[in-house]
C-alpha cells in the first residue's frame, strides 16, 4: 500500500528551478531510496515533502491526504519525521532535551518510543545528559534519527545518513534503519550505494530535478550500465 505519493512536483529555490517533475511512491514498511548525482534534487525533494521548500506545482499525498500546501509543523504532525543531511541537532541542548523537544505527548506510546531509541542506540543512553554539541558525527546522526522517530512518525525521511561517517559507524546506522523498518516506512536519500543497496527495497533515480528511472533495488544491483550512466559508479 502506498503511504506517500509524490506526483510531478516542481520546486524553485530563489530564481533556480530545482525540481522539474519529480514523482515517486513509498510503500508501507519498505525502504525507498532516492539516488542521483550531487545536485540532482534529492535533498530538495525531501525538503519539499516537509514544506521547507514549498512546491510550485504537483501534488504530495500522505495517507491519501494532499499535504503540499500545509505548513511544515502540520506536515510533521501528520506523522512524517525528517532527518536532515547535516543532522541539525540542537547543540546547546542535552541528548535527552533534544529528544524531549520532539516528544509532544506524554502517553505510553511515546514513552515506549523513547525507550526503544535508547535500546536501538545505546550510545545515546550513555550520553543522555551530554550537550549535543559535544557528540561525535556518528552520535549526532543517531540522535537526529532518534529525534525524528520518537515523535510518533509513520514515515521517516532520512537524508544522507552516511555522509562524513566512518565505515563502522555507517554500518551501525544502517543496522538501526533496518531495525526500524518493521515499525516505520523509510524514504532514504543516499550517495553510498553499498549502504543504499543493502537496505533499500526499491529505488528512484533523480537527474537534473526529474525522476528518470525506478525499479526494484536488486535490478539496479545487477544493472551496471544504469549505475554507470546515472550514478557514475560501476
Amino acid at each position: 500500500m502506498s503511504l506517500l505519493k509524490v506526483h510531478n512536483i516542481d520546486t524553485n529555490i530563489d530564481q533556480y528551478h530545482i525540481l522539474q517533475g519529480v514523482s515517486f511512491e513509498a510503500n508501507q514498511g519498505e525502504v525507498t531510496v532516492l539516488l542521483g548525482r550531487n545536485g540532482a534534487g534529492k535533498t530538495t525533494t525531501l525538503r519539499s515533502i516537509m514544506g521547507l521548500n514549498p512546491v510550485r506545482s504537483g501534488t504530495i499525498s500522505f495517507k491519501n491526504k494532499e499535504i503540499q500546501t500545509m505548513a511544515t509543523h502540520n506536515i510533521a504532525n501528520e506523522g512524517i519525521g525528517y532527518v536532515p543531511e547535516d543532522q541539525r541537532i540542537f547543540s546547546g541542548l542535552t541528548v535527552e532535551e533534544n529528544l524531549k523537544v520532539a516528544m509532544k505527548k506524554k502517553d505510553e506510546q511515546t514513552q515506549k518510543r523513547f525507550e526503544y531509541v535508547l535500546v536501538l542506540f545505546p550510545d545515546l543512553k550513555k550520553l543522555l545528559y551530554k550537550k549535543g554539541g559535544y557528540l561525535s558525527g556518528g552520535q549526532k546522526q543517531m540522535l537526529s534519527i532518534a529525534r525524528a522517530y520518537v515523535n510518533n512518525c509513520e514515515l521517516l525521511l532520512i537524508d544522507e545518513p552516511s555522509k562524513g561517517l566512518a565505515p563502522i559507524i555507517v554500518e551501525k546506522v544502517m543496522e538501526s534503519i533496518l531495525d526500524m523498518k518493521d515499525k516505520t516506512t523509510v524514504v532514504l536519500v543516499e550517495q553510498n550505494f553499498i549502504m543504499a543497496s543493502s537496505i533499500g527495497d526499491k529505488f528512484y533515480i533523480l537527474d537534473d530535478g526529474k525522476t528518470v528511472r525506478n525499479g526494484k533495488m536488486r535490478e539496479l544491483k545487477e544493472d551496471e550500465a544504469l549505475r554507470r550512466q546515472y550514478l557514475g559508479i560501476a
Binding site: L52, A71, H73, N77, S91, K100
Partner: protein
C-alpha cells in the same frame, strides 16, 4: 565607602531595570531574528499608563497591572500588524519598528501631554533604611528584588518547562523545530508578548525610581537594552542579566567619578566585548549566524 555601596545599589537597580527590558529583546532577537527597535515604546507606554493609573487610583499594584496589560496589548498588535509582514527582512524590520517607536513616542504626548509626568514612590516603598551610616533607599531594593524575581522566573521557564525547551531549541534552529511538529509562529507570539509584558513592568518600575517619566525615555532605554543584548549575547537571558548589571554598575560609577565620559562607557564596553567575543559574553555562534 558609603558612596561606593550606594553607587553599587543604584547600579544594580538600574541594571535590573535594563535587564527587564533586555530579556524580552534578547529572546525576540535570538528566537525570531527580529530587530525590534519599538521595544522601548512598550516600556514607555508601560511607564505612562502605569504611573497614570497609580496616580488616579493611588494603588501601585493596579498601576503595575495596567503597565503589564498595556505592554501585552501593544506587544500583540506590534507583532501581528507591524512585525509579522517583515519577518526575515532586517532592513524593513529596522525601518518599520523605528517608525513605530517614533509614532508611539509621539502618541504618548498626544494622550498625556508633552510635559514630563511626575511619578511618586508608593508610600509603602518610600523612605530608606540606615545601616552603619549607609542610607539604603527602599524603592531601589524593591526594584532589585523584582528584577531578581523575574530573572529566576525566566530561568525556571526556560530550563524547567517544555515551552522553555522549545524556545531554547528555537533560538538554535527555528526550521528544525518546525520540522518536529511545533508551530513556531505561536511560540514567536508568546515570546513577543512575554517580552512586551516585561518591558511594561520595567516602565512602571522606572517611574518612582527617577521621579519622572518622559517621552524620550523609550528610545533612550531601548538603545541601552540593545547594547545589553549585544554584550550579553543574542538569545541568552543569563548573558543579558550579566550585561545589564555590568552596564548598570559601570554607568553608575562612571556618572559619579567620570561624568564627562559616562555615556561613552557603555559603548566602550560593547566595543571591547565585540572585539574579543563577537557572539557576546554568553552568546552562541549559532545565534550570531
Amino acid at each position: 565607602m558609603d558612596a561606593i555601596i550606594n553607587i553599587t545599589i543604584n547600579g544594580l537597580a538600574t541594571g535590573m531595570l535594563i535587564f527587564l527590558l533586555a530579556a524580552g529583546l534578547t529572546l525576540i532577537f535570538g528566537l525570531m531574528d527580529v530587530l525590534n527597535f519599538a521595544h522601548g515604546a512598550l516600556f514607555l507606554w508601560g511607564a505612562y499608563a502605569g504611573i497614570w493609573v497609580f496616580t488616579q487610583t493611588d494603588s501601585y499594584l493596579l498601576g503595575v497591572f495596567a503597565a503589564v496589560i498595556i505592554g501585552i496589548l501593544l506587544g500583540y498588535l506590534l507583532e501581528r500588524y507591524i512585525i509579522l509582514p517583515v519577518y526575515g527582512n532586517h532592513i524593513r524590520q529596522i525601518m518599520i519598528t523605528l517608525g513605530a517607536m517614533l509614532v508611539l513616542g509621539e502618541l504618548v504626548k498626544v494622550v498625556w501631554g508633552p510635559n514630563v509626568m511626575i511619578a511618586n514612590t508608593p508610600a509603602i516603598l518610600s523612605g530608606s533604611w540606615e545601616f552603619s551610616g549607609i542610607l539604603i533607599i527602599k524603592y531601589r531594593l524593591f526594584v532589585i528584588f523584582v528584577g531578581l524575581l523575574v530573572f529566576l522566573g525566566l530561568l525556571f521557564l526556560l530550563n524547567r518547562t517544555k515551552l522553555g525547551l522549545v524556545v531554547r531549541a528555537g533560538v538554535m534552529d527555528k526550521e528544525m523545530v518546525q520540522a518536529l511538529g511545533i508551530n513556531i509562529r505561536k511560540v514567536f507570539l508568546g515570546v513577543f508578548i512575554l517580552g512586551a509584558a516585561m518591558a511594561g513592568l520595567a516602565g512602571i518600575l522606572l517611574g518612582p525610581y527617577t521621579g519622572v517619566v518622559y517621552a524620550e525615555m523609550g528610545l533612550e532605554f531601548g538603545l541601552l537594552a540593545f547594547i545589553v543584548v549585544i554584550i550579553g549575547g543574542m538569545g541568552s537571558v543569563v548573558g543579558s542579566a550579566v550585561a545589564a548589571l555590568l552596564v548598570g554598575i559601570l554607568g553608575s560609577f562612571a556618572s559619579y567619578y567620570l561624568p564627562d565620559i559616562s555615556l561613552a562607557v557603555n559603548m566602550l564596553l560593547m566595543l571591547i566585548v565585540l572585539i574579543f567575543k563577537p557572539s557576546g559574553l554568553m552568546g552562541t555562534k549559532e545565534a550570531v549566524k
